[in-house]
């Protein structure tokens, strides 16, 4: 294993600490990549060491779990003495794919699937068992993706796009696109009935009416309304009504 890989991997865990709208995750990726650059032939005095950090600390964005892939690939090209303009083109070219693949793979696939599995276990067994299932399942995929990304980026260097277009990434995207909505679909009725188990028949009907009304508002009437705002609107209205209804 390349010296500095473990330090770089650990630093990817805080890659978004300085996230901002000017450079997004650029500073974090440069910080994660730094341990990989220490063995450049001229060490820290090598002009490419500071040049690479400066370049990567500019604007950069990617899914946080795939930032290691960028750090590995962008460090590798420094060892291969790839001309700076070409290294910079690689940096800019990685922004789109690392963001969209990560978002689809994790935020729209693995996370909802893991949440649904955790919630189903929670209502069928116990909630602590659901929590452990969720954290275990999710983080197996999460940490594996971080580790693979860093190693693949370092291995592939300038050819990192080939790794990103690999067969298992496509398989993961296809699996997530089917498994996430299916598992969410299974989970919703189970969790709904579990949450309402201590309510009476009338309250269950009222909850169903509120759910349909909320769905109508969020899908048709005000599609831009976020979930937290819709929830606040409904729950605070009910609180005021409940307060007045003494």
């Amino acid at each position: 294993m390349k010296r500095g890989m473990l330090a770089a991997w650990i630093r990817t865990l805080i890659v978004q600490a300085s996230w901002n709208y000017d450079r997004m995750v650029g500073v974090g990726v440069a910080y994660a990549m730094e341990p990989l650059l220490r063995d450049l032939p001229g060490g820290r005095a090598d002009g490419r060491y500071a040049g690479a950090l400066k370049r990567v600390a500019g604007f950069f964005n990617a899914h946080p779990y795939l930032t290691g892939m960028a750090a590995g690939a962008l460090a590798r090209v420094e060892y291969e003495r790839v001309p700076e303009p070409q290294a910079d083109r690689l940096r800019r070219a990685l922004i789109g794919p690392l963001g969209s693949v990560g978002d689809q793979l994790i935020w729209a696939g693995w996370l909802p699937l893991s949440v649904a599995v955790g919630l189903v276990v929670a209502v069928l067994a116990t909630v602590p068992a659901g929590v452990v299932s969720f954290l275990g399942l999710y983080n197996v995929g999460h940490l594996a993706l971080r580790s693979w990304g860093l190693a693949a980026g370092w291995r592939a260097g300038i050819g990192v796009a080939g790794e990103l277009a690999g067969r298992w990434i496509h398989a993961g995207l296809r699996f997530g696109a089917a498994a996430a909505p299916f598992s969410i679909g299974v989970m919703l009725p189970l969790v709904g009935s579990w949450l309402l188990r201590e309510f009476g028949g009338n309250e269950r009907l009222e909850a169903a009416i509120v759910a349909l009304l909320g769905l109508l508002v969020a899908r048709v009437l005000v599609p831009t309304l976020s979930g937290v705002r819709l929830g606040l609107l409904l729950v605070v209205t009910a609180l005021v009504a409940g307060w007045l209804w003494q």
Binding site: I14, N61, V127, N139, P181, I184, E206
Partner: protein, 221 residues
Amino acid sequence: MEGLWWLVLWGTVAGLDLVSLGQVMLGRPLVAGTVAGLLAGDPGAGAVVGVTLELFALDLLPVGGAQYPDYGPAAVAGAATAAGVPGVLGLGPAIAVALVTGYLGEQAVQIVRRGNAADVGRNRAGLDAGEVASLRRMQLHGMLRDAARALLMTLFGLALAALARSWLPLSLRGAVVVGTVAVGAALAVAATGALRLGGRGTARVWLAAGLVVGAAWVLAR
């Protein structure tokens, strides 16, 4: 409030996990609420609050620079509100406290991001020279800023929880109505998120198939 300092610590950790540290999903409401219930001495209440808030959290995908509520400290505050309250009577007020805390957490994240952007300006010379000290300083300051945000949001949420527990004048019937609406709203938000996730093409078929299986499972139990 039982386990107050543990709740403060846990809320801060859950808030940090949202973006800055690890993103291992300790801040998901299912996790944060359940653990907060244990710390507050009422695991059952924390579990119900955590599961309900998890439905709210399914509304969105935290892509790119999206703005999203911070449900970690919110779930801690919600669990603290419901702890020790019999049956479902604490659920409605708990969800109200959690949603207010989560919403304010969303706004607070923007303040942290603006603070990080200002840090870029202060460290521009070092960043442009490729100095690792500037990178380290920015990461450290960003993390401290986010930790302070998570701590403040947790303290705010717990203060709101204490206020709701001691002051909120709800009758028995009123508390049940608020709880009913909270569950209905959570289901509406989760259904909206599900339709957004699986609302097109073959994903819609998978979502519909899942709903049929889930409904059959409920009827069969």
